[in-house]
């Protein structure tokens, strides 16, 4: 069993077998992370470049750790220090870096499709670390991994994504991956932040948390960005918190445990109350740990195909 593509651009269109292969591969890497010596040799001699055109701390560190633990040579590049600020195009930047003989590129970019574009102009394996509001496949995978670890299976699992679905790559990768794995997915948020026709992706839409809380095993809570208020999409953080913020009080009414996930970074007491974020049903830190294992699995599976 191998992955169909030599790139990881998104979870849309990937088969259940491929997703399972990545999740299963990540299990063995997850074990390695608990060993005293966490380094293994599969990518020895390979060079990976992390191209981050958008600021990110956790995803970049997670990728770097994953790469180093697989013994790859790693170069990271962030916009502020790049030639992009001098007006160089993405294509030129990518081609120049590739001319330095690299094997894999991890890209984070604000434009949907940027990773697809890159995969057309360079020969290296391309891994999408988030392209605008489109996809964030390794985040989707690590969310699925965390849920599978917790519940044993994704089949029939009821997961709700809460918040700004319109602009969220995390939401899309979760929807594509979880639906393929047989989970029931719903979304909940203000109508202004739910994109048109999303029902056609096989998800249910809610605009009141009270309506979905009784029917859910896990919430994946998305970060709300203040700039959406400025563009007229919601009135205030206070109102958002009151109507769409997950709090212990709200969840407790379900009378049973509901798992809490968040891709980070959290706006504490806006989309998620501090007591839930740090509570016993939160798996937020497990997500972070699992992120390294998932990225090792992806790098390994793509790097091995070279």
């Amino acid at each position: 069993m191998k992955l169909q593509s030599r790139h990881l651009l998104g979870l849309e269109g990937m088969s259940k077998e491929e997703l399972t292969l990545i999740l299963d591969t990540a299990v063995s890497f997850r074990e390695i992370l608990d060993r005293p010596i966490k380094k293994v040799p599969p990518l020895q001699g390979k060079t990976v470049v992390n191209l981050f055109f958008e600021s990110s701390t956790r995803t970049r560190i997670s990728f770097e750790l994953a790469e180093r633990r697989l013994s790859a040579d790693v170069v990271s590049f962030a916009t502020a220090a790049s030639s992009v600020s001098k007006g160089e195009t993405l294509k030129d930047t990518a081609r120049n870096i590739e001319a330095m003989k690299i094997d894999m590129v991890v890209i984070r970019h604000s434009a949907p499709g940027a990773a697809h574009f890159l995969s057309r102009v360079v020969d290296a394996n391309v891994i999408n670390a988030g392209d605008g509001g489109h996809e964030h496949p390794t985040q989707g995978l690590l969310d699925m991994f965390t849920l599978r670890e917790k519940f044993g299976s994704l089949e029939g699992l009821r997961v709700c994504l809460v918040g700004d679905i319109s602009h969220s790559r995390v939401a899309r990768s979760n929807i594509y991956g979880l639906r393929t794995m047989g989970a029931e997915v719903s979304v909940c948020g203000p109508k202004t932040l739910i994109p048109r026709d999303i029902e056609r992706l096989g998800v249910r839409v809610y605009h009141r948390l009270e309506d979905i809380i009784p029917h859910v095993d896990a919430f994946n809570v998305l970060r709300i960005q203040l700039e959406r208020q400025k563009s007229g999409l919601f009135p205030s953080l206070r109102e958002y918190h009151r109507f769409f913020g997950l709090t212990k009080e709200r969840i407790d009414r379900a009378g049973r445990p509901i798992t809490i996930m968040h891709p980070g970074p959290i706006n504490r007491d806006v989309e998620l109350s501090a007591d839930l974020a740090d509570g016993e049903h939160s798996v937020i830190l497990q997500q972070v740990t699992n992120g390294v294992a998932i990225r090792m699995a992806v790098l390994y599976l793509l790097g091995a195909s070279n």
Binding site: K91, A111, P112, G133, R196, D197, R200, L201
Partner: protein
Amino acid sequence: MKLHLKGGRIIDPVSGKDEMMDVLVLDGRIEKLGTSLTADPSFTVLDLKNKIVAPGFIDMHVHLREPGYEHKETIESGCAAAAAGGFTAVCCMPNTNPAIDEESVARYVREKGRQVCDGIVDVYPIAAATKGRQGEELAPMAELVEAGAVGFSDDGSPIASAEMMRRALEYASMFHLPIIQHAEEPTMTKGGCMNEGFTSTRLGMPGIPAVAEELMIARDLLLLRYVRHARYHVAHISTRGSVEMVRTAKREDLPVTCEVTPHHFTLTDEAVSSFDTNTKMNPPLRTREDVDAIKEGLRDATIDVIATDHAPHTIDEKEVEYTQAPFGIIGLETAIGLSITELVQTNVLMLYQLVEKFSTNPRKILSLPAIKIAEGERANFTLIDPEVRWQVDVARSRSKSRNTPFHGRQLRGKAIGIINKGKYVLF
């Protein structure tokens, strides 16, 4: 020039002809018209068996980019592409630099058009409706008409202010020329780069909603009802709702006309899934439902004209992130092929109606003299092989640019030559 067009099918909506006839062309005029004519050996014989002889096609919506953006296209390269695509005339949009918003620029464009490609393609400028296309003050329309403008538009941008639109309609009506509106309510489309709907949701791409186009058309139709004797033409109509509004307005005899581009009846927004920036245009590719409504609009004559919105951009400009790429694709050389393949082969239109939409109707809308295929008339023809199968190869385009989503596509039907101004080119 002495030509004997032999055995072709003459389609001439102006005189209502659709029959097999020979044509003798002498010094740019139709010398004789009839069945199985004989001519002396000094006439060059063109064997047009199974071919169409139509009045010269005009593309009333192209961007020739000159002056100002000659790296994308020049009047010369644009006219060469037009000729190769079967057009004997083009109307060029005013979003040049400087804009075609005053006499000297309009004259420059016309003059340049006469000089390039042996003058075989007539270049008619569409002038800006407002100064600098800023939507704030009227452009000097009377002077622009004297300089050869055949219509007014701020294309690329809508005339957003209702008051400005009212005044533009009123002022242009003195010359019996249309205001050509790029219909888009700008407050709803900021940052958008594709149709808003299921596909933009799937791709996480900022959307341009259909209602933004429809709102502007609805407003303009209300203004048109209010302003007397004005003429209004909707450029590149793209949504079902827009087609329905124009249909209803025509039923009440409002002086409205509209055009559609070949890409809007050929492709849907699903094409954007490739993230190929050659699927990025404004208005964006819409849904299957919209494409079906457009075909119905073409069939029932709600849509008067097929025009390309030929919008050249260089490879470097287009080979960027989708959100960064400029809007538009080239279209002059694929228009007839796409129209025959998508409309005639599928029985949406008959060839006769196709000729109306590429020649008769746009000339009428722009108050240009009708082209009649009759003895003594000027010979202005587009020659078409409606059956030939060919493959689009963008490397062979005469345009300076290469931005088309149709590279490699198999098509039926293409222009095999044009005749105009006592000259002819065959392909």
